[in-house]
């Protein structure tokens, strides 16, 4: 189930528009100011100060990777593409650059508010997924450690299921993840610090 979108916290948020001076920038600035955002226009590239922005609108027609102080697709805030020419190559570039939403040019009287909400929702969802994936990947990488730890505990005369349960209990007692507990058990085997020193 999707969570309700956040409509709060737009007041006073900083938007940066990466676009050459143009009526589209004026129209978009008016819309964003009416919504309650602070707006800055920059061209031809985002400076370091853009890292403090809450939203970045960028020109998809004349844009290129070097305009951004981060790697493609790794913006630390939601990004909205300003698309004039709907050519597949430009759309592909805008997507690779990390567009979370788009707004078609010429920008007129509306569209800004939905672009803000959709971009932020997509950004939040993407970030939550990245965190989850990183966690899962780490756990996958630790499979071998877990197997070694369970085997080591089982070697002291327990069944595999008992060893597994014991490792889970250790993790709970130490307040660490299952994988971290396994790493400690294995470190003890390998002549690392005594596991008792790790009790917290």
């Amino acid at each position: 189930m999707r969570r309700p979108i956040r409509i709060q916290n737009l007041g006073g948020a900083q938007a940066v528009i990466l676009h050459r001076p143009h009526p589209t920038v004026q129209a978009l600035t008016r819309q964003l100011a009416a919504i309650g955002l602070r707006v800055a226009q920059v061209w031809p590239e985002l400076g370091a100060e853009a890292l403090g922005a809450d939203f970045v609108f960028f020109d998809a027609d004349m844009g290129h990777d070097e305009q951004f102080p981060w790697s493609p697709g790794e913006s630390p805030m939601p990004m909205i593409a300003l698309i004039g020419s709907e050519a597949p190559g430009r759309i592909e570039w805008a997507l690779r650059a990390g567009a979370h939403a788009q707004l078609l040019k010429p920008v007129g009287d509306n569209g800004g508010y939905s672009a803000l909400l959709i971009a932020r929702d997509a950004f939040d969802a993407q970030r939550a997924l990245s965190v989850e994936i990183a966690g899962l990947r780490r756990r996958l990488d630790e499979r071998q450690t877990v197997v070694r730890a369970v085997a080591a505990l089982a070697a002291k005369g327990k069944t595999e299921a008992e060893a597994y349960a014991q490792l889970r209990q250790m993790a709970m007692a130490w307040r660490v993840t299952f994988e971290d507990a396994a790493a400690r058990v294995v470190a003890g085997l390998d002549g690392g610090p005594d596991e008792r020193q790790n009790r917290g």
Binding site: G11, G12, A34, I35, G36, D109, N110, Y113
Partner: protein, 358 residues
């Protein structure tokens, strides 16, 4: 010598919300008469009227007719949000400005619309601030099945839930429907502390009548115990409501008899807001020949208007009033608050009451 300026009027004189449209129209016409008779103003208005007859599909074409076939660039009109949204693309295309004089659900700030009645920080939020401490935080939400009902109830749900309250039910009726039985049944079982009524027209009239009947069976369902709240109901709909209006609590910038509205006495806030719109337009046009053909940004630029240059919303008093003996009596009055259509400008705690009549 006065400049004669054509001014569009786009109100439905038949259909399900005519009482509101007529109230707005009469406020606009009385302001036009006053402007035309005012020797201190160098302009006079010539009304150009079109009647969509309550048919939402006629608003766009008729607005286009006004802007294309006459010299009018400003149009006073529209009652439902639905019709306003139909008109905006036409205004953009032909460079017109709509003065919209009824309460609405917010989340809009068109460069071609002036919003002269209340938006949620001027009606729904103060109303909830008033009702929850006094009556409790368990509510039932009703609404007409279009953007006004949906958005008002979404916001009410958010505010009530954040305050630790509970939404016991939420139900919608198609515009014009009188099938209120199921709502009334649900309310009877849910026994909320208050009801938010975002129904419009005949649905609202039928609902209030049925709720009054329910109150005769069970004293919980009376204004003392479980009031019905409304953000768009004014005196102009009393003729359709009769006794069913008794006890209803509404928020608005003006109620009949309020003293501080410029321009005298009005039958309702709909009338007062339309009057104020025309008067403000006249003030902005006075002494600036040719400005009548310019867009809204130029008209407002440096003009120190009551209309905010960024949002095109107006600063309005916030009154909460209850129908007692056939008339609204103010139960809480807050000083004027700027319209905050996106609810991004923060809210100060309700200002101390200026005047309490109870």
């Amino acid at each position: 010598m006065k400049r004669r300026i054509e001014l569009g009027l786009l109100y439905s004189r038949s259909g399900s919300y005519t009482l509101i449209a007529e109230a707005c129209r009469s406020g606009a016409l009385s302001a036009i008469a006053q402007v035309n008779a005012d020797p201190a103003l160098d302009i006079s208005f010539v009304p150009v009227e079109r009647d969509p007859g309550g048919n939402v599909d006629l608003y766009g074409p008729l607005c286009e007719e006004i802007l294309r076939d006459t010299s009018a660039r400003h149009v006073i009109g529209c009652v439902t949000s639905w019709s306003r949204k139909e008109v905006i693309p036409v205004l953009e295309k032909l460079g017109g400005t709509l003065w919209y004089t009824v309460p609405y659900e917010g989340f809009e700030a068109s460069d071609h619309v002036v919003y002269t009645h209340a938006c949620p920080n001027q009606h729904l939020l103060p109303l909830l601030d008033w009702v929850m401490p006094a009556h409790g935080r368990r509510t039932y939400l009703t609404g007409s099945n279009y953007i006004w009902g949906w958005e008002m109830n979404r916001l009410a749900r958010e505010v009530v839930t954040q305050a630790g309250g509970e939404v016991l039910g939420e139900r919608y009726l198609p515009i014009g429907s009188r099938e209120v039985g199921r709502m009334i049944d649900e309310i009877r079982f849910a026994r909320p502390d208050f009801i938010v009524n975002s129904l419009i027209g005949p649905s609202s009239y039928e609902f209030l009548a049925a709720y009054r009947a329910l109150g005769r069976e069970d004293a919980h369902f009376t204004a003392q115990n479980c009031p019905v709240l409304s953000c768009n109901l004014t005196e102009c709909e009393f003729p359709a409501l009769g006794q069913a209006a008794e006890g209803l609590v509404a928020a608005g910038p003006y109620f009949r008899g309020a003293q501080d509205w410029p321009g005298g006495n009005f039958g309702s806030s709909h009338e007062a807001a339309a009057f104020a719109a025309v008067r403000e337009l006249a003030r902005l046009l006075h002494g600036r020949e040719g400005i009548e053909n310019a867009g809204l940004p130029s008209l407002l630029s440096g003009a120190a208007s009551v209309v905010d240059e960024k949002t095109h919303h107006t600063r309005l008093p916030v009154l909460i009033a209850q129908v007692r003996g056939g008339a609204f009596q103010v139960v809480r009055a807050q000083s004027a608050v700027a319209g905050d259509p996106y609810l991004t400008r923060g809210r100060v705690a309700p200002a101390p009451s200026l005047r309490v009549v109870s």
